[in-house]
């Protein structure tokens, strides 16, 4: 293993402190208004978590309103209309604005520290993600104040959410707001994947990675694959509501069940997207408090991967009552039972670790024990619900509500609290109060079970979910009252926890370094951490760095390890091999910037103008957002604000922008996986409607000109060919004709756009009359957008060659754009096959 830069900068007269000051100069956060430009993962992770807690409080208040309404029979505390808005927003806020962003925030904060690096690999993307989350959340929750909140349940089934039954703006708030928030989730998903794979400190091979990083890797990949189906569904439903394209209307050839498929293709993995990071917290904490390594590291990795995959094969178990063949139900029933296997493996691993260790029942462990009890119960009712006959009996009753809360609160909230208490000393440098914390735990635990254990019985007695009141003769009175009392006890517990956390910042005892005697690298940080995390980046070849080398925090702080240099003025971290952890590049990161804020503000304008149907303004804002994003991308590579010279310390690996394999390539790849998932969801929708929709009508002759489409496809292939040739030349340090080649590729992209535009124009599609034409329009717009994007990016690359930012000396960026070209070729030709060739071959 190469070891480099073993000392701090020699010209530093103050030793390590001087180096700290220099790094602070480069990485430090500005104050005042400029704090909005911060891209640092520590600050943004905290912002995500604080914002998530605010939304949690809003969601919690909504829950208490629901419980107040249901406490007694025949209550009129709320009108049915308001009740519908309240329960819909409770679910929506908790799932989309609390659970996922909160866990992403924790991952954003924790992952770089755990894997021994200084920041996430796309810091400006973190910032964009945060602002999209914030603005999307504000837009969505503002609907409550306006009394225009969505009211069709958090999964927005059509036709209840369609314009016929929900003519006001509630559904639009949901569709646009959630899609906006999903930009944030996808941004975090993409960069967490790349950061974990490519920026672990040297020596940290895949099998030495902290288990938390494994969990977050799986979660992030699941977000990348799982969110696009819902984004597609939301786009289609919003188009139906705004323009009248009948994707989900039977009369127009659509099918409301398509929405259910698209929603649950996202919705079921979502449960595991929430559970996996929480289980990661459990797998991190239990070995620490048991005082021994986890039993069966490999088994846990096995369980994580299995859960990630199997969870995508269960979505139809939410739809057992819609009328699908028994054999299909049996497939999904079996798959639903299978997912209990990896979950059980993890539970046994945790129990075995506790059994073989010497557990200390500190405050975080209380929450872990609470998790084990509640989550196992939730898992068992999950297996019950996987059984089709039982599912039919309790479908849409409070039993399902109780099960869901056992799984989500038990499987996410309890571990989250454990994690927050565990890492609190790292956040603040202070310890929480054990006394208030224990009161908080027990009140929450007792209150939770009083609410939801009883709710199982209410459901078994037949009480449907979402009813705003019930008759006293139904026999549900006492159970509802007890559930409501339990809900308020739980609220009191959560209030105590929040008070404890708030008070500890001022009154908490100062924490000693690594107060829990943890094994993972984040505790090598200062408490609270600096903006750059570590002065020097160590070589780590063990799963328990701080147990095996307790002196590591000191030597890291003294700059005795790698990359302990600040003279170049760049934000730098190691780029390592994803499998072995061997050093590959020095990654330089962009600094603080206004562009993410500006871009997200422009996107917020798009969202609001679509909401109020000001389409011209929406169009302008889209262009403005695009300009901001492209301007942001301009400050890259050899740009003066990025890395104008390629100098590195002797023995250091080269800057990533001077290689052909930097993190941008990986980021584009992961983004294209998400894009591919969107595209496959679209194809699923096309074939689903074609096969299943009762009123689907395929015209006798296709409205699409096959010749022109093939011409557009050839232009795409030619564009890709040009790009491949240029990239191949750059690999051999040849950049003659690079700019001209990029302009040619751009021209071919523009030609593709023109030809698709011509096909669209000449097709004369009746998009508001038939789902067939509407689906074709969406597909062609998808191709149009991608062709245009490839053309614009190639054009910009050509310009960058002219400025000297790209060339044989900085060959990286065209390789990134070439990936998009490859993707475009594949998707466009598949689209031609699906939309223009197959209907001609097999007809309607």
């Amino acid at each position: 293993m190469t070891t480099i830069n073993r000392q701090a900068t020699p010209q530093d007269p103050q030793g390590p402190q001087g180096l700290h000051d220099d790094l602070h100069e480069i990485w430090g956060n500005p104050r005042g208004l400029k704090a909005l430009t911060i891209v640092n993962h520590t600050t943004l992770g905290l912002r995500f978590m604080v914002t998530g807690m605010v939304f949690f409080l809003i969601g919690g208040i909504l829950a208490m309103l629901v419980r107040t309404q249901l406490a007694m029979p025949d209550q009129d505390f709320m009108s049915p209309e308001i009740y519908n808005q309240v329960f819909t927003m409770h679910g929506t806020v908790m799932m989309f604005l609390f659970a996922i962003p909160m866990l992403e925030g924790l991952a954003i904060y924790m992952i770089p520290k755990m894997i021994g690096t200084r920041d996430l690999v796309c810091p400006r993307l973190t910032s964009l993600g945060y602002f999209c989350y914030l603005f999307g959340g504000i837009i969505l929750t503002s609907s409550l104040i306006l009394e225009m909140a969505p009211a069709s349940g958090w999964f927005m089934y059509t036709p209840l959410s369609s314009s016929e039954y929900a003519p006001d703006l509630g559904s639009d708030f949901w569709l646009l707001g959630i899609t906006f928030v999903e930009i944030s989730a996808l941004s975090a998903g993409v960069e967490l994947v790349v950061s974990i794979l490519r920026t672990r400190t040297q020596g940290m091979a895949l099998h030495k990675m902290p288990l938390f990083a494994w969990y977050i890797l799986a979660m992030a990949l699941m977000i990348v694959v799982g969110f696009p189906p819902l984004i597609l569904g939301s786009v289609l439903l919003e188009l139906e509501r705004a323009v009248g394209m009948p994707f989900f209307e039977v009369a127009g050839g659509g099918d409301p069940v398509l929405w259910q498929h698209l929603f649950w293709l996202f919705g079921h993995p979502e449960v595991y997207i929430i559970f996996l990071p929480a289980a990661g917290i459990v797998s991190t904490l239990i070995p620490v408090f048991a005082g021994r390594p986890i039993v069966g590291y490999g088994w846990v990795v096995f369980a994580i991967i299995t859960t990630g995959f199997i969870s995508f094969g269960l979505w139809v178990h939410h739809m057992f009552t819609v009328g699908i063949p028994q054999l299909a139900q049996a497939f999904f029933s079996a798959a639903s039972m299978l997912v209990a296997v990896p979950t059980a493996i993890q539970v046994f691993v945790w129990l075995a670790t506790l059994w073989l260790g010497k557990p200390k029942m500190k405050l975080p462990m209380l929450w872990i024990v609470g998790f084990l009890v509640i989550f196992v119960c939730g898992g068992l009712t999950g297996v019950m619900l996987a059984l089709v006959p039982f599912n039919w009996q309790v479908h849409d009753t409070h039993f399902v509500v109780a099960h869901m809360h056992y799984v989500l609160v038990g499987g996410m909230f309890f571990p989250l609290m454990a994690g927050l208490y565990y890492w609190l000393p790292l956040f603040s440098g202070r310890m929480p109060s054990e006394t208030i914390g224990k009161w908080g735990f027990w009140l929450t635990f007792i209150g939770f079970n009083a609410t939801f254990l009883i709710m199982h019985w209410t459901g078994l007695l037949g009480m449907p979910r979402r009813v705003y009141t019930y008759d006293t003769g139904m026999g549900w009175d006492i159970y509802n009252l007890l559930s409501s009392v339990g809900g308020f006890i739980m609220s009191a517990g959560i209030a105590m926890v929040l008070i404890d956390i708030a008070l500890h910042f001022r009154y908490g005892k100062p924490a000693k370094h690594n107060p829990w005697n943890a094994d993972t690298l984040e505790w090598a940080n200062s408490m609270p951490p600096s903006a750059y995390n570590y002065v020097s980046l160590p070589t780590i070849e063990t799963r328990h760095p701080l147990w095996d080398n307790p002196d590591l925090p000191r030597t890291m702080a003294e700059g005795q390890h790698g990359l302990a240099v600040a003279t170049h003025g760049r934000r730098e971290l190691w780029g390592t091999d994803p499998l072995t952890g061997k050093l590959r590049e020095t990654i330089h990161l962009p600094g603080n910037s206004w562009w993410p804020l500006f871009a997200s503000l422009a996107l917020a304008v798009v969202c609001i103008s679509l909401l109020v149907r000001w389409y011209p303004l929406a169009g302008i804002a889209v262009i403005v957002a695009g300009v901001f994003l492209l301007r942001w991308s301009w400050e890259n590579g050899a740009h003066p604000k990025a890395a104008p010279d390629a100098k590195v310390m002797p023995g250091d690996p080269p800057l990533h922008s001077r290689t052909m394999d930097g993190p941008g390539l990986w980021t584009m790849s992961v983004f294209l996986i998400a894009n591919g998932s969107f595209f496959l969801s679209y194809l699923f929708g096309w074939f689903y409607l074609w096969t299943v929709s009762p009123e689907w009508s395929m015209p006798e002759t296709s409205p699409l000109s096959l010749v022109v489409l093939v011409g557009a496809g050839i232009a795409t292939i030619a564009g890709m060919g040009v790009m491949e040739k240029l990239v191949s030349g750059l690999r051999q340090q040849r950049d003659a004709g690079l700019a001209v080649g990029l302009y040619i590729a751009s021209g071919l992209g523009a030609l593709q756009v023109l030809l698709i535009g011509w096909v669209l124009y000449s097709a004369n599609l009746a998009v508001t009359e038939t789902a067939h034409d509407a689906v074709i329009l969406v597909g062609l717009i998808y191709a149009l957008f991608h062709g245009g994007l490839a053309a614009v990016l190639s054009l910009l690359q050509g310009l960058r060659v002219g400025y000297g930012y790209v060339g044989a000396h900085a060959p990286f960026e065209p390789a990134v754009v070439a990936q998009l070209w490859r993707f475009n070729v594949v998707t466009f030709w598949v689209l031609i096959g699906a939309l223009a060739v197959l209907p001609r071959v097999i007809g309607g």
Partner: protein
């Protein structure tokens, strides 16, 4: 067989995802195939489980299971020959292939007992 397994580089972590990807493809093929066949050309209800569609679903399932079992065996062999990172990768892959194979068996079991389109 062993040389084929060696060419597959079973110590690479890509095999962590191949088994379950194959399982996912099999699942989509079986569920999608059954759904499309039931829409386009459903077998007669009086045929019960003994019909062409269930036969095809069963053959596809057996093939998928056979491939996954072979890969499990290959990973076990390779894991025994290595230490450290490579052994870890092959052993975890073996477990994942085995789980994928068993998952095919478990999910496919209803094919032999339930008519496809009722």
């Amino acid at each position: 067989m062993l040389s084929l397994m060696e060419r597959l580089r079973l110590t690479h972590p890509i095999h962590f995802v191949i088994g379950l990807t194959l399982w996912s493809i099999w699942f989509v093929v079986v569920y999608g195939g059954q759904a499309v066949a039931c829409e386009v050309a459903p077998p007669m209800p009086e045929q019960g489980v003994f019909n062409l569609l269930n036969g095809w679903l069963l053959i596809v399932s057996i093939l998928a299971m056979a491939v996954l079992v072979a890969l499990t065996w290959g990973c076990c062999q390779i894991a025994n020959r290595h230490q450290g990172r490579l052994r870890f990768n092959a052993a975890v892959s073996a477990g994942l292939y085995l789980f994928s194979a068993l998952s095919v068996v478990f999910v496919a079991l209803p094919i032999v007992g339930v008519p496809p389109c009722l």
